[in-house]
Protein backbone atom coordinates (compact mmCIF):
# COMPACT_ATOMS: atom_id res chain seq x y z
CA UNK A 1 0.00 0.00 0.00
CA UNK A 2 1.24 3.49 -0.84
CA UNK A 3 2.25 5.46 2.21
CA UNK A 4 1.24 9.08 2.48
CA UNK A 5 4.11 11.46 2.97
CA UNK A 6 4.16 13.84 5.89
CA UNK A 7 2.25 16.94 4.95
CA UNK A 8 0.70 19.71 6.96
CA UNK A 9 0.86 20.11 10.71
CA UNK A 10 1.41 17.05 12.90
CA UNK A 11 -1.75 15.56 14.41
CA UNK A 12 -0.06 14.31 17.57
CA UNK A 13 3.23 15.50 19.06
CA UNK A 14 5.19 14.90 22.21
CA UNK A 15 7.59 17.63 23.34
CA UNK A 16 10.26 16.71 25.85
CA UNK A 17 7.66 14.51 27.49
CA UNK A 18 8.23 12.66 30.76
CA UNK A 19 5.56 10.18 31.85
CA UNK A 20 4.97 8.41 35.13
CA UNK A 21 2.74 8.29 38.15
CA UNK A 22 2.70 11.27 40.48
CA UNK A 23 6.05 13.06 40.34
CA UNK A 24 8.07 9.91 39.54
CA UNK A 25 9.03 9.70 35.88
CA UNK A 26 9.20 6.27 34.23
CA UNK A 27 10.36 7.57 30.86
CA UNK A 28 11.88 10.96 30.10
CA UNK A 29 12.78 12.83 26.95
CA UNK A 30 10.08 11.53 24.62
CA UNK A 31 9.63 13.58 21.48
CA UNK A 32 7.86 12.86 18.21
CA UNK A 33 5.63 14.36 15.54
CA UNK A 34 2.99 12.15 14.01
CA UNK A 35 1.38 13.24 10.75
CA UNK A 36 -1.76 12.07 8.96
CA UNK A 37 -1.35 8.69 7.32
CA UNK A 38 1.67 7.73 9.39
CA UNK A 39 2.16 4.91 11.85
CA UNK A 40 4.32 5.25 14.95
CA UNK A 41 5.33 1.97 16.56
CA UNK A 42 6.21 1.84 20.21
CA UNK A 43 8.51 -0.95 21.35
CA UNK A 44 9.81 -1.78 24.78
CA UNK A 45 10.10 -4.55 27.31
CA UNK A 46 7.33 -5.23 29.81
CA UNK A 47 7.26 -2.68 32.59
CA UNK A 48 9.05 0.00 30.57
CA UNK A 49 6.04 2.30 30.84
CA UNK A 50 4.39 1.88 27.45
CA UNK A 51 0.91 1.79 28.96
CA UNK A 52 1.76 4.80 31.13
CA UNK A 53 2.85 6.65 27.99
CA UNK A 54 -0.44 5.71 26.32
CA UNK A 55 -2.48 6.89 29.26
CA UNK A 56 -0.59 10.18 29.12
CA UNK A 57 -1.20 10.54 25.37
CA UNK A 58 -4.91 9.96 26.04
CA UNK A 59 -4.88 12.63 28.73
CA UNK A 60 -5.94 10.11 31.40
CA UNK A 61 -2.97 11.08 33.57
CA UNK A 62 -1.02 14.34 33.39
CA UNK A 63 2.55 14.35 32.08
CA UNK A 64 5.31 14.52 34.70
CA UNK A 65 7.04 17.07 32.48
CA UNK A 66 6.80 18.38 28.94
CA UNK A 67 3.62 18.28 26.93
CA UNK A 68 1.42 16.44 24.48
CA UNK A 69 0.04 18.41 21.54
CA UNK A 70 -3.11 17.18 19.85
CA UNK A 71 -3.69 18.95 16.55
CA UNK A 72 -1.35 21.66 17.79
CA UNK A 73 -3.32 22.25 21.01
CA UNK A 74 -1.92 21.40 24.42
CA UNK A 75 -3.75 18.32 25.73
CA UNK A 76 -3.90 19.98 29.14
CA UNK A 77 -6.28 22.64 27.89
CA UNK A 78 -8.71 20.30 26.10
CA UNK A 79 -11.88 18.86 27.61
CA UNK A 80 -12.54 15.12 27.61
CA UNK A 81 -14.98 15.42 24.72
CA UNK A 82 -12.59 17.58 22.71
CA UNK A 83 -9.89 14.95 23.15
CA UNK A 84 -12.29 12.15 22.20
CA UNK A 85 -13.22 13.99 19.01
CA UNK A 86 -9.58 13.96 17.87
CA UNK A 87 -8.09 10.85 19.42
CA UNK A 88 -9.54 7.37 19.83
CA UNK A 89 -8.22 4.55 21.94
CA UNK A 90 -8.13 0.85 21.14
CA UNK A 91 -7.53 -0.93 24.44
CA UNK A 92 -5.66 -4.18 24.74
CA UNK A 93 -8.78 -6.18 25.49
CA UNK A 94 -12.50 -5.71 25.71
CA UNK A 95 -13.59 -5.92 29.33
CA UNK A 96 -17.37 -5.85 29.40
CA UNK A 97 -19.29 -7.14 32.40
CA UNK A 98 -22.46 -7.39 30.30
CA UNK A 99 -23.23 -9.24 27.09
CA UNK A 100 -23.33 -6.33 24.68
CA UNK A 101 -23.57 -6.97 20.96
CA UNK A 102 -20.76 -5.80 18.69
CA UNK A 103 -23.17 -3.15 17.40
CA UNK A 104 -23.75 -1.86 20.96
CA UNK A 105 -20.00 -1.54 21.52
CA UNK A 106 -19.32 0.26 18.24
CA UNK A 107 -22.31 2.51 18.82
CA UNK A 108 -20.52 3.79 21.93
CA UNK A 109 -17.73 5.09 19.70
CA UNK A 110 -20.18 6.50 17.18
CA UNK A 111 -21.94 8.43 19.94
CA UNK A 112 -18.88 10.36 21.08
CA UNK A 113 -19.77 14.05 21.02
CA UNK A 114 -23.48 13.58 21.70
CA UNK A 115 -24.95 15.94 24.29
CA UNK A 116 -25.21 14.81 27.90
CA UNK A 117 -28.91 13.99 27.67
CA UNK A 118 -28.88 12.69 24.10
CA UNK A 119 -29.14 9.09 22.99
CA UNK A 120 -27.75 7.67 19.76
CA UNK A 121 -30.17 7.82 16.84
CA UNK A 122 -30.18 6.72 13.22
CA UNK A 123 -27.12 8.76 12.26
CA UNK A 124 -25.03 7.12 15.00
CA UNK A 125 -26.37 3.66 14.12
CA UNK A 126 -25.33 4.25 10.54
CA UNK A 127 -21.88 5.40 11.61
CA UNK A 128 -21.46 2.28 13.72
CA UNK A 129 -22.51 -0.02 10.89
CA UNK A 130 -20.21 1.80 8.47
CA UNK A 131 -17.27 1.24 10.83
CA UNK A 132 -18.08 -2.48 11.13
CA UNK A 133 -18.46 -2.68 7.39
CA UNK A 134 -15.15 -0.96 6.73
CA UNK A 135 -13.34 -3.65 8.71
CA UNK A 136 -15.33 -6.38 7.01
CA UNK A 137 -17.07 -7.54 10.19
CA UNK A 138 -20.62 -6.31 9.54
CA UNK A 139 -21.77 -9.91 9.95
CA UNK A 140 -20.71 -9.78 13.61
CA UNK A 141 -22.98 -6.80 14.38
CA UNK A 142 -25.55 -8.73 16.38
CA UNK A 143 -23.16 -11.20 17.98
CA UNK A 144 -22.66 -11.20 21.73
CA UNK A 145 -19.13 -9.82 22.21
CA UNK A 146 -18.44 -12.09 25.17
CA UNK A 147 -18.77 -15.02 22.75
CA UNK A 148 -16.49 -13.66 20.03
CA UNK A 149 -12.91 -14.83 19.58
CA UNK A 150 -10.08 -12.60 20.80
CA UNK A 151 -9.32 -11.51 17.25
CA UNK A 152 -12.93 -10.66 16.51
CA UNK A 153 -13.18 -8.68 19.72
CA UNK A 154 -10.06 -6.74 18.76
CA UNK A 155 -11.63 -5.91 15.41
CA UNK A 156 -14.80 -4.74 17.20
CA UNK A 157 -12.68 -2.44 19.37
CA UNK A 158 -10.93 -1.06 16.29
CA UNK A 159 -14.36 -0.51 14.71
CA UNK A 160 -15.44 1.37 17.83
CA UNK A 161 -12.40 3.64 17.57
CA UNK A 162 -13.10 4.16 13.85
CA UNK A 163 -16.72 5.07 14.58
CA UNK A 164 -15.37 7.77 16.86
CA UNK A 165 -14.12 9.44 13.65
CA UNK A 166 -11.01 10.76 15.34
CA UNK A 167 -7.95 11.41 13.20
CA UNK A 168 -5.54 9.79 15.63
CA UNK A 169 -5.81 6.18 16.83
CA UNK A 170 -3.85 4.91 19.79
CA UNK A 171 -3.67 1.11 19.94
CA UNK A 172 -2.26 -0.75 22.90
CA UNK A 173 -0.73 -4.06 21.74
CA UNK A 174 -3.61 -4.81 19.38
CA UNK A 175 -2.17 -8.18 18.32
CA UNK A 176 -1.12 -9.47 21.72
CA UNK A 177 -2.49 -12.97 22.33
CA UNK A 178 -3.99 -13.28 18.84
CA UNK A 179 -3.40 -16.24 16.51
CA UNK A 180 -1.46 -15.80 13.28
CA UNK A 181 -4.47 -15.23 11.03
CA UNK A 182 -5.93 -12.63 13.35
CA UNK A 183 -2.56 -10.88 13.68
CA UNK A 184 -2.45 -10.57 9.90
CA UNK A 185 -6.05 -9.28 9.81
CA UNK A 186 -5.34 -6.62 12.43
CA UNK A 187 -2.10 -5.62 10.69
CA UNK A 188 -3.95 -5.25 7.39
CA UNK A 189 -6.57 -3.14 9.15
CA UNK A 190 -3.89 -0.82 10.57
CA UNK A 191 -2.22 -0.38 7.18
CA UNK A 192 -5.62 0.29 5.64
CA UNK A 193 -6.34 2.99 8.19
CA UNK A 194 -2.99 4.67 7.58
CA UNK A 195 -3.55 4.56 3.82
CA UNK A 196 -6.87 6.31 4.41
CA UNK A 197 -5.11 9.15 6.22
CA UNK A 198 -5.43 8.12 9.84
CA UNK A 199 -2.47 8.69 12.17
CA UNK A 200 -1.82 5.61 14.29
CA UNK A 201 0.26 4.98 17.40
CA UNK A 202 0.62 1.28 18.06
CA UNK A 203 2.60 -0.61 20.65
CA UNK A 204 3.95 -4.07 19.92
CA UNK A 205 6.38 -6.67 21.21
CA UNK A 206 7.32 -7.83 17.71
CA UNK A 207 10.17 -5.87 16.04
CA UNK A 208 9.31 -7.44 12.68
CA UNK A 209 5.75 -6.18 12.98
CA UNK A 210 6.99 -2.72 13.94
CA UNK A 211 9.32 -2.63 10.94
CA UNK A 212 6.49 -3.73 8.67
CA UNK A 213 3.76 -1.42 10.05
CA UNK A 214 5.68 1.61 11.18
CA UNK A 215 6.86 4.75 9.46
CA UNK A 216 8.45 5.77 12.68
CA UNK A 217 9.47 3.90 15.79
CA UNK A 218 10.08 4.77 19.39
CA UNK A 219 12.08 2.39 21.55
CA UNK A 220 11.69 2.81 25.30
CA UNK A 221 13.18 0.80 28.12
CA UNK A 222 13.49 1.34 31.85
CA UNK A 223 16.66 3.31 31.08
CA UNK A 224 14.60 5.77 29.01
CA UNK A 225 14.26 6.43 25.29
CA UNK A 226 16.72 4.17 23.43
CA UNK A 227 16.00 5.42 19.94
CA UNK A 228 13.39 7.43 18.11
CA UNK A 229 12.88 8.34 14.48
CA UNK A 230 12.20 6.78 11.06
CA UNK A 231 11.80 3.00 11.21
CA UNK A 232 14.75 2.34 8.90
CA UNK A 233 17.05 4.28 11.23
CA UNK A 234 15.68 3.05 14.52
CA UNK A 235 15.10 -0.64 13.92
CA UNK A 236 18.77 -1.61 13.91
CA UNK A 237 20.64 -4.35 15.73
CA UNK A 238 22.45 -2.08 18.18
CA UNK A 239 19.36 -0.24 19.39
CA UNK A 240 17.21 -3.37 19.64
CA UNK A 241 19.98 -5.23 21.48
CA UNK A 242 20.12 -2.42 24.02
CA UNK A 243 16.35 -2.31 24.25
CA UNK A 244 15.88 -5.95 25.11
CA UNK A 245 19.26 -6.54 26.80
CA UNK A 246 20.21 -9.43 24.52
CA UNK A 247 21.87 -9.69 21.12
CA UNK A 248 19.30 -9.08 18.35
CA UNK A 249 20.15 -9.92 14.73
CA UNK A 250 18.50 -8.29 11.73
CA UNK A 251 18.34 -9.94 8.30
CA UNK A 252 16.62 -8.90 5.11
CA UNK A 253 14.01 -11.38 3.96
CA UNK A 254 13.56 -12.37 0.31
CA UNK A 255 10.81 -9.73 0.14
CA UNK A 256 13.30 -7.07 1.22
CA UNK A 257 11.68 -6.70 4.63
CA UNK A 258 13.78 -6.86 7.76
CA UNK A 259 13.37 -9.79 10.12
CA UNK A 260 14.67 -10.01 13.65
CA UNK A 261 15.72 -12.91 15.77
Amino acid sequence: MERLTATGAPLLSARDLAVGHGARALIRGIGFDLHAGRVLCLLGPNGAGKTTLFRTLLGLIPPVAGKVLLGGADLDGLSRSQIAARLAHVPQALASPFAYTARDIVLMGASVGLGAFARPGRAEEARAMAALDRLGIADLADEDVTRLSGGQRQMVLIARALAQEAQVLVMDEPTASLDFANVKAVEAAILGLAAAGQAVVVSTHDPGQAAMLGDEALLVSRAGVIASGPVSDVMQEAALSRLYGLPVRRIEGPDGRPHFY
Binding site: R55, L58, G59, L60, R80, S81, I83, A84, A85, L87, A88, H89, P91, A95, S96, P97, F98, A99, Y100, T101, D104, M108, G109, S111, V112, G113, L114, A116, F117, A118, R119, P120, D144, T146, R147, Q164
Partner: protein, 334 residues
Protein backbone atom coordinates in the same frame (compact mmCIF):
# COMPACT_ATOMS: atom_id res chain seq x y z
CA UNK B 1 -43.32 -3.66 21.94
CA UNK B 2 -41.92 -5.44 24.95
CA UNK B 3 -42.03 -2.18 26.87
CA UNK B 4 -45.73 -1.77 26.13
CA UNK B 5 -46.31 -5.30 27.45
CA UNK B 6 -44.50 -4.32 30.64
CA UNK B 7 -46.57 -1.13 30.85
CA UNK B 8 -49.71 -3.22 30.44
CA UNK B 9 -48.50 -5.51 33.22
CA UNK B 10 -48.09 -2.47 35.47
CA UNK B 11 -51.66 -1.28 34.76
CA UNK B 12 -52.90 -4.78 35.52
CA UNK B 13 -50.89 -4.88 38.77
CA UNK B 14 -52.22 -1.48 39.82
CA UNK B 15 -55.85 -2.48 39.19
CA UNK B 16 -55.29 -5.71 41.10
CA UNK B 17 -53.57 -3.93 43.96
CA UNK B 18 -56.27 -1.30 44.31
CA UNK B 19 -59.13 -3.73 43.68
CA UNK B 20 -58.22 -6.49 46.12
CA UNK B 21 -58.84 -6.16 49.84
CA UNK B 22 -61.48 -6.46 52.55
CA UNK B 23 -63.59 -4.00 50.51
CA UNK B 24 -63.05 -5.18 46.90
CA UNK B 25 -63.32 -2.67 44.05
CA UNK B 26 -64.12 -3.62 40.46
CA UNK B 27 -62.14 -1.93 37.66
CA UNK B 28 -65.29 0.08 36.88
CA UNK B 29 -65.57 1.30 40.46
CA UNK B 30 -61.87 2.19 40.46
CA UNK B 31 -62.34 4.23 37.31
CA UNK B 32 -65.43 6.04 38.69
CA UNK B 33 -63.75 6.74 42.03
CA UNK B 34 -60.64 7.99 40.22
CA UNK B 35 -62.47 10.38 37.93
CA UNK B 36 -64.90 11.40 40.67
CA UNK B 37 -62.08 12.21 43.06
CA UNK B 38 -60.15 14.11 40.40
CA UNK B 39 -63.07 16.28 39.37
CA UNK B 40 -64.93 16.99 42.56
CA UNK B 41 -63.07 15.67 45.60
CA UNK B 42 -64.65 13.05 47.85
CA UNK B 43 -68.23 14.01 47.11
CA UNK B 44 -70.00 10.78 46.36
CA UNK B 45 -72.57 9.16 48.59
CA UNK B 46 -72.97 5.61 49.96
CA UNK B 47 -70.99 2.98 48.06
CA UNK B 48 -69.49 5.56 45.74
CA UNK B 49 -68.14 7.52 48.65
CA UNK B 50 -66.83 4.34 50.27
CA UNK B 51 -64.99 3.43 47.06
CA UNK B 52 -63.50 6.91 46.84
CA UNK B 53 -62.21 6.76 50.40
CA UNK B 54 -60.67 3.33 49.85
CA UNK B 55 -59.02 4.50 46.63
CA UNK B 56 -57.78 7.92 47.65
CA UNK B 57 -56.99 7.47 51.33
CA UNK B 58 -56.21 3.81 51.93
CA UNK B 59 -55.18 1.61 49.04
CA UNK B 60 -54.21 4.27 46.52
CA UNK B 61 -51.34 5.77 48.55
CA UNK B 62 -50.12 2.30 49.48
CA UNK B 63 -50.19 0.93 45.93
CA UNK B 64 -48.57 4.05 44.50
CA UNK B 65 -45.91 3.86 47.22
CA UNK B 66 -45.23 0.25 46.27
CA UNK B 67 -44.94 1.16 42.60
CA UNK B 68 -42.63 4.07 43.32
CA UNK B 69 -40.39 2.05 45.63
CA UNK B 70 -40.26 -0.90 43.23
CA UNK B 71 -39.37 1.32 40.30
CA UNK B 72 -36.86 3.28 42.37
CA UNK B 73 -35.05 0.29 43.85
CA UNK B 74 -34.91 -1.44 40.46
CA UNK B 75 -33.45 1.67 38.82
CA UNK B 76 -30.96 2.21 41.65
CA UNK B 77 -29.86 -1.43 41.41
CA UNK B 78 -29.51 -1.27 37.63
CA UNK B 79 -27.43 1.91 37.86
CA UNK B 80 -25.19 0.45 40.58
CA UNK B 81 -24.59 -2.70 38.55
CA UNK B 82 -23.31 -0.56 35.69
CA UNK B 83 -21.27 1.80 37.85
CA UNK B 84 -19.63 -1.04 39.77
CA UNK B 85 -19.37 -3.10 36.58
CA UNK B 86 -20.80 -6.12 38.33
CA UNK B 87 -24.20 -7.68 37.74
CA UNK B 88 -24.38 -9.04 41.29
CA UNK B 89 -24.40 -5.64 42.98
CA UNK B 90 -27.52 -4.40 44.76
CA UNK B 91 -28.43 -0.85 45.86
CA UNK B 92 -27.28 -1.45 49.46
CA UNK B 93 -23.67 -2.15 48.42
CA UNK B 94 -22.50 1.14 49.94
CA UNK B 95 -24.34 0.59 53.21
CA UNK B 96 -27.32 2.83 52.54
CA UNK B 97 -29.92 0.29 53.70
CA UNK B 98 -28.03 -0.64 56.86
CA UNK B 99 -27.46 3.04 57.66
CA UNK B 100 -31.08 4.00 57.02
CA UNK B 101 -32.20 0.98 59.04
CA UNK B 102 -30.01 2.03 61.95
CA UNK B 103 -31.36 5.57 61.88
CA UNK B 104 -34.96 4.40 61.84
CA UNK B 105 -34.66 1.82 64.64
CA UNK B 106 -32.85 4.43 66.71
CA UNK B 107 -35.87 6.65 66.16
CA UNK B 108 -38.17 3.84 67.31
CA UNK B 109 -36.00 3.29 70.41
CA UNK B 110 -36.20 6.98 71.24
CA UNK B 111 -39.97 6.84 70.91
CA UNK B 112 -40.09 9.46 68.15
CA UNK B 113 -43.19 10.08 66.01
CA UNK B 114 -43.45 8.23 62.67
CA UNK B 115 -42.42 11.20 60.56
CA UNK B 116 -39.28 11.70 62.66
CA UNK B 117 -38.42 7.99 62.39
CA UNK B 118 -38.66 8.23 58.60
CA UNK B 119 -36.55 11.38 58.56
CA UNK B 120 -33.90 9.71 60.70
CA UNK B 121 -33.84 6.70 58.39
CA UNK B 122 -33.47 8.94 55.36
CA UNK B 123 -30.78 11.11 56.97
CA UNK B 124 -28.75 8.19 58.31
CA UNK B 125 -28.91 6.44 54.92
CA UNK B 126 -27.51 9.50 53.14
CA UNK B 127 -24.92 10.07 55.89
CA UNK B 128 -23.69 6.48 55.66
CA UNK B 129 -22.94 6.73 51.96
CA UNK B 130 -21.38 10.17 52.43
CA UNK B 131 -19.13 8.60 55.06
CA UNK B 132 -18.21 5.75 52.71
CA UNK B 133 -17.34 8.18 49.91
CA UNK B 134 -15.38 10.40 52.28
CA UNK B 135 -13.45 7.41 53.57
CA UNK B 136 -12.72 6.24 50.03
CA UNK B 137 -11.39 9.66 49.05
CA UNK B 138 -9.30 9.82 52.23
CA UNK B 139 -7.72 6.42 51.54
CA UNK B 140 -6.86 7.44 47.94
CA UNK B 141 -6.28 3.86 46.86
CA UNK B 142 -5.42 2.80 43.33
CA UNK B 143 -8.48 0.65 42.76
CA UNK B 144 -11.02 3.25 43.82
CA UNK B 145 -14.13 1.19 43.10
CA UNK B 146 -12.89 -1.77 45.11
CA UNK B 147 -11.89 0.47 48.02
CA UNK B 148 -15.33 2.08 47.91
CA UNK B 149 -17.12 -1.29 48.01
CA UNK B 150 -14.95 -2.46 50.90
CA UNK B 151 -15.61 0.77 52.80
CA UNK B 152 -19.32 0.22 52.15
CA UNK B 153 -19.11 -3.27 53.63
CA UNK B 154 -17.22 -1.99 56.67
CA UNK B 155 -19.54 0.93 57.39
CA UNK B 156 -22.55 -1.26 56.63
CA UNK B 157 -21.32 -3.81 59.18
CA UNK B 158 -20.91 -1.02 61.71
CA UNK B 159 -24.49 0.13 61.11
CA UNK B 160 -25.59 -3.51 61.46
CA UNK B 161 -23.88 -3.63 64.85
CA UNK B 162 -25.73 -0.44 65.77
CA UNK B 163 -29.03 -2.08 64.82
CA UNK B 164 -28.21 -5.10 67.03
CA UNK B 165 -27.38 -2.79 69.94
CA UNK B 166 -30.68 -0.92 69.53
CA UNK B 167 -32.56 -4.24 69.50
CA UNK B 168 -30.80 -5.24 72.71
CA UNK B 169 -31.73 -1.98 74.39
CA UNK B 170 -35.31 -1.88 73.08
CA UNK B 171 -38.33 -2.69 75.21
CA UNK B 172 -39.03 -6.34 74.25
CA UNK B 173 -42.82 -5.98 74.42
CA UNK B 174 -43.45 -2.70 72.68
CA UNK B 175 -40.46 -1.60 70.65
CA UNK B 176 -38.76 -4.82 69.61
CA UNK B 177 -41.66 -6.20 67.51
CA UNK B 178 -41.98 -2.80 65.81
CA UNK B 179 -38.25 -2.75 65.08
CA UNK B 180 -38.21 -6.30 63.77
CA UNK B 181 -41.26 -5.74 61.59
CA UNK B 182 -39.83 -2.50 60.28
CA UNK B 183 -36.48 -4.06 59.39
CA UNK B 184 -38.26 -6.68 57.29
CA UNK B 185 -40.04 -4.01 55.31
CA UNK B 186 -43.73 -3.18 55.11
CA UNK B 187 -46.09 -0.69 53.55
CA UNK B 188 -48.82 -1.31 56.13
CA UNK B 189 -49.94 1.99 57.54
CA UNK B 190 -48.46 4.11 54.75
CA UNK B 191 -50.60 7.20 54.37
CA UNK B 192 -50.90 9.83 51.71
CA UNK B 193 -48.72 12.21 53.72
CA UNK B 194 -45.90 9.61 53.93
CA UNK B 195 -46.07 9.09 50.19
CA UNK B 196 -46.02 12.82 49.53
CA UNK B 197 -42.96 13.19 51.76
CA UNK B 198 -40.94 10.35 50.19
CA UNK B 199 -41.98 10.72 46.55
CA UNK B 200 -39.98 13.90 45.79
CA UNK B 201 -36.72 12.26 46.93
CA UNK B 202 -37.34 9.15 44.83
CA UNK B 203 -38.31 11.20 41.78
CA UNK B 204 -35.37 13.57 42.29
CA UNK B 205 -33.10 10.51 42.18
CA UNK B 206 -34.81 8.99 39.15
CA UNK B 207 -34.57 12.11 36.98
CA UNK B 208 -30.76 12.10 36.47
CA UNK B 209 -30.68 8.32 36.03
CA UNK B 210 -33.27 8.55 33.25
CA UNK B 211 -31.93 11.73 31.65
CA UNK B 212 -28.30 10.54 31.57
CA UNK B 213 -29.07 6.91 30.80
CA UNK B 214 -27.02 6.63 27.60
CA UNK B 215 -23.94 8.15 29.21
CA UNK B 216 -24.30 6.06 32.36
CA UNK B 217 -24.19 2.92 30.20
CA UNK B 218 -20.69 3.86 29.02
CA UNK B 219 -19.41 3.54 32.60
CA UNK B 220 -19.76 -0.23 32.18
CA UNK B 221 -16.64 -0.07 29.99
CA UNK B 222 -14.55 1.14 32.92
CA UNK B 223 -13.19 4.55 33.82
CA UNK B 224 -10.32 4.83 31.37
CA UNK B 225 -12.44 3.74 28.42
CA UNK B 226 -15.37 5.95 29.32
CA UNK B 227 -12.98 8.89 29.66
CA UNK B 228 -11.31 8.08 26.36
CA UNK B 229 -14.79 8.27 24.85
CA UNK B 230 -15.23 11.79 26.17
CA UNK B 231 -17.10 11.13 29.43
CA UNK B 232 -16.10 12.74 32.72
CA UNK B 233 -16.37 9.34 34.39
CA UNK B 234 -15.61 10.38 37.97
CA UNK B 235 -18.18 13.14 38.01
CA UNK B 236 -20.84 11.02 36.32
CA UNK B 237 -20.29 8.16 38.76
CA UNK B 238 -20.73 10.56 41.66
CA UNK B 239 -24.04 11.76 40.21
CA UNK B 240 -25.24 8.15 39.79
CA UNK B 241 -24.24 7.14 43.32
CA UNK B 242 -25.88 10.26 44.77
CA UNK B 243 -29.08 9.62 42.82
CA UNK B 244 -29.26 5.92 43.67
CA UNK B 245 -28.55 6.66 47.33
CA UNK B 246 -31.30 9.27 47.45
CA UNK B 247 -33.78 6.77 46.02
CA UNK B 248 -32.76 3.91 48.31
CA UNK B 249 -32.67 6.02 51.47
CA UNK B 250 -36.14 7.38 50.71
CA UNK B 251 -37.44 3.88 49.97
CA UNK B 252 -36.07 2.45 53.21
CA UNK B 253 -37.41 5.44 55.18
CA UNK B 254 -40.88 4.88 53.73
CA UNK B 255 -41.13 1.09 53.73
CA UNK B 256 -38.25 -0.35 55.71
CA UNK B 257 -35.58 -2.65 54.33
CA UNK B 258 -36.78 -4.54 51.25
CA UNK B 259 -34.11 -6.68 49.63
CA UNK B 260 -33.88 -8.51 46.31
CA UNK B 261 -35.76 -6.03 44.12
CA UNK B 262 -32.68 -4.00 43.27
CA UNK B 263 -30.69 -7.13 42.51
CA UNK B 264 -33.25 -9.21 40.67
CA UNK B 265 -35.36 -6.83 38.62
CA UNK B 266 -32.40 -5.43 36.64
CA UNK B 267 -31.62 -8.99 35.55
CA UNK B 268 -35.19 -9.50 34.39
CA UNK B 269 -35.00 -6.17 32.56
CA UNK B 270 -31.79 -7.22 30.84
CA UNK B 271 -33.42 -10.43 29.64
CA UNK B 272 -36.30 -8.42 28.20
CA UNK B 273 -34.48 -5.41 26.77
CA UNK B 274 -30.83 -6.44 26.44
CA UNK B 275 -27.84 -5.16 28.39
CA UNK B 276 -27.79 -1.58 27.08
CA UNK B 277 -28.51 0.61 30.12
CA UNK B 278 -30.53 3.16 28.14
CA UNK B 279 -32.86 0.40 26.96
CA UNK B 280 -33.04 -1.75 30.07
CA UNK B 281 -33.71 1.14 32.48
CA UNK B 282 -37.31 1.76 31.29
CA UNK B 283 -37.92 -1.99 31.47
CA UNK B 284 -36.47 -2.10 34.99
CA UNK B 285 -38.68 0.82 36.10
CA UNK B 286 -41.86 -0.83 34.82
CA UNK B 287 -40.98 -4.34 36.00
CA UNK B 288 -39.87 -3.10 39.43
CA UNK B 289 -43.09 -1.16 39.92
CA UNK B 290 -45.30 -4.08 38.84
CA UNK B 291 -43.38 -6.61 40.91
CA UNK B 292 -43.52 -4.51 44.07
CA UNK B 293 -47.25 -3.78 43.70
CA UNK B 294 -47.99 -7.49 43.28
CA UNK B 295 -45.77 -8.45 46.23
CA UNK B 296 -47.39 -5.84 48.46
CA UNK B 297 -50.85 -7.01 47.41
CA UNK B 298 -49.86 -10.55 48.31
CA UNK B 299 -48.49 -9.29 51.64
CA UNK B 300 -51.97 -7.96 52.48
CA UNK B 301 -53.97 -10.86 51.09
CA UNK B 302 -52.30 -14.20 51.73
CA UNK B 303 -52.55 -14.29 55.54
CA UNK B 304 -54.80 -12.87 58.24
CA UNK B 305 -51.90 -10.64 59.31
CA UNK B 306 -49.57 -8.54 57.18
CA UNK B 307 -46.60 -10.50 55.91
CA UNK B 308 -43.36 -8.47 55.88
CA UNK B 309 -42.30 -7.56 52.35
CA UNK B 310 -38.69 -8.56 52.88
CA UNK B 311 -39.77 -12.14 53.53
CA UNK B 312 -41.93 -12.26 50.41
CA UNK B 313 -39.35 -10.71 48.10
CA UNK B 314 -36.77 -13.21 49.37
CA UNK B 315 -39.12 -16.19 49.03
CA UNK B 316 -40.13 -15.09 45.52
CA UNK B 317 -36.79 -13.62 44.62
CA UNK B 318 -34.48 -16.51 45.43
CA UNK B 319 -36.05 -19.07 43.06
CA UNK B 320 -36.62 -16.48 40.33
CA UNK B 321 -32.98 -15.50 40.64
CA UNK B 322 -31.83 -19.10 40.29
CA UNK B 323 -33.96 -19.49 37.16
CA UNK B 324 -32.51 -16.27 35.78
CA UNK B 325 -28.99 -17.48 36.47
CA UNK B 326 -29.68 -20.75 34.71
CA UNK B 327 -31.34 -19.14 31.69
CA UNK B 328 -29.47 -15.92 31.53
CA UNK B 329 -25.82 -16.82 31.84
CA UNK B 330 -25.66 -15.25 28.39
CA UNK B 331 -27.11 -11.94 29.55
CA UNK B 332 -24.11 -11.19 31.66
CA UNK B 333 -20.56 -12.33 31.75
CA UNK B 334 -19.99 -12.88 35.45
Amino acid sequence: MRLSLLALALVFALILGIGLGPYPLSPGQIFDALTGGLTGGLTGAGDDRQAQVVLWNIRGPRVISAALIGAGLAAAGAAYQVVFRNPLVSPDILGVSAGAGFGAVLGILLGLPVMAIQLMGFGFGLATVALVIGLTLALRGGAQLLVMVLCGIVIGALAGAGISLVKLLADPDEQLPAITFWLMGSLAGVKRVDLLAAAPAVILGLVPLIALRWRIGLLAMGDDEARAMGIEAGRLRFVVIAAATLITAAAVALAGVIGWIGLMVPHMARLVAGPRFDRMLPAALLAGASFMVLVDTAARMIAPMEVPLGILTAVLGAPVFVVLLARGARAWNG
